[in-house]
Symmetry: C2
Subunit: 264 residues, 2 copies
């Protein structure tokens, strides 16, 4: 097995807070070895859309991406947010390379088929979506890829794609080449046994414990798809999946970061 | 001397016309050998800014880039326009890689000093602005860099930078490694002896002829800085500089494209 690769995903809560973003990026830059950052959107897209008189449409918590909204998310995710992050990482001596899935044909997706709901220009990741050859070239050349949540279909169409899923797909595909770990950053210190007690972080969860915690209602709502993604990735070759607070990333290489999802 | 490199710049007129953009990109994709595309902005930035209630400020034909306008041009140039171009090039089997100057630390600029006019977050390119090592890595790995006109200062600040100047700086710096040609695409078939006659293209111009054509008023206004840039590049190692119609790019490798600027 090759060298270690850390795939790290940050969400809107960190991106929307300039100070938190700086703190996180400085810690990310300090992380040794090969790494990839995947970032979601944040409120700027919704705000920009509103400013332009385009209403954000959500169905079951998912953004419906019509043509004007695709332009907005492409602008904000792949443009403003991605380049801000890249320029800050360069400041912190991390040779970041901002990418969408179209760049280097890194991630090809398929427009989600219209069934009950037409999600518009939303891309679903397939098994062979990730171009490991391209991404390996970037990593081996010493760059740190920074992915926005925009992909393409290979036929000239950009697609809006869930950032958690991109992170998971990257980690799974690259685990064939690298000893890969996946780290989901969010606003809590980890999976909490008691949602009101930040100190109640569960150190590790195996699949059986995950089922038990779901049944007991300890893990619920938005955490369920996150952890589903995590265990899916472990089943497909990713070494470990962590979930924890973006601002604690410095604890990761000390083995003290968040909750670790285990294979068994 | 190494292999041939073509650095090609397109402006807003092509970018703003979806049909023309497709035609141009298909021709660009078909161009053999190593190549770099540099694109300017177009009207989308101004339109987006207007939609958001931000007024575009111009002084002597140059955009004044205050903080909100920097966000807009970063969104539009490095996001929407860049990723649209990259995804279309991928469709045409060109392995495009969209870049700002921050990505791979490719182009570092210096914020223009405030003298009579404060241009805001505008970046000036210096002699050592271009990171030829990074760009060589991309080219040698088989990627086609596509640069938007956004750079950074290495300290976390993005900067709006003139696309003609970026193209010229890239060509000059990379001429130390590659047998480099620079091609400015615009809406005319070349430098015209008679502005009303598209067939009056001047085949070649040397520096003496340039001076004579300026004195005679044949070359005037916006063409002067373009050709100044061109002759500057030739003086610094670029093999040839061409100026011609984006839609005629297929004629380039037949030696039939636009006006060629000669060293002597």
């Amino acid at each position: 097995m090759g060298s270690v690769l850390n795939v790290i995903k940050i969400g809107g809560n960190v991106i929307d807070d300039e100070e938190q973003l700086h703190i996180f990026l400085e810690k990310f830059a300090a992380l040794q070895g090969k790494k990839i950052l995947v970032h979601g959107g944040g409120k700027v897209a919704t705000r920009t859309a509103a400013g332009l008189g385009i209403e954000a449409k959500m169905i079951d918590g998912r953004r419906v991406t019509d043509a004007p909204m695709l332009d907005i998310v492409t602008m904000v995710y792949a443009g403003l947010t991605n380049k801000k992050i890249v320029s800050l990482l360069q400041k912190f001596d991390c040779d970041a390379l901002g990418l969408s899935g179209a760049d280097g044909n890194s991630i090809k997706a398929v427009k989600r088929p219209v069934r009950e709901v037409d999600y518009g220009y939303v891309g679903d990741i397939l098994v062979d979506s990730v171009n490991t050859l391209s991404i390996k070239k970037f990593l081996e050349a010493g760059f740190t890829p920074v992915f926005s949540a925009i992909t393409h279909n290979g036929l000239g169409q950009l697609l809006n794609t869930n950032a958690d899923t991109i992170a998971s797909a990257l980690a799974v595909s690259l685990s064939k080449i690298y000893d890969t770990r996946l780290i989901y950053c969010f606003e809590k210190d980890g999976v909490l046994r008691d949602v009101n007690d930040e100190r109640s972080v569960i150190k590790s969860i195996n699949p059986d414990e995950f089922e038990a915690l779901k049944s007991a209602g300890v893990i619920y709502e938005g955490m369920i798809p996150k952890l589903d993604n995590a265990f899916h990735a472990i089943g497909k070759g990713v070494k470990n999946v962590y979930i924890g607070n973006a601002l604690n990333l410095h604890l990761y290489q000390q083995g003290e970061f968040g909750t670790c999802m285990l294979a068994k």
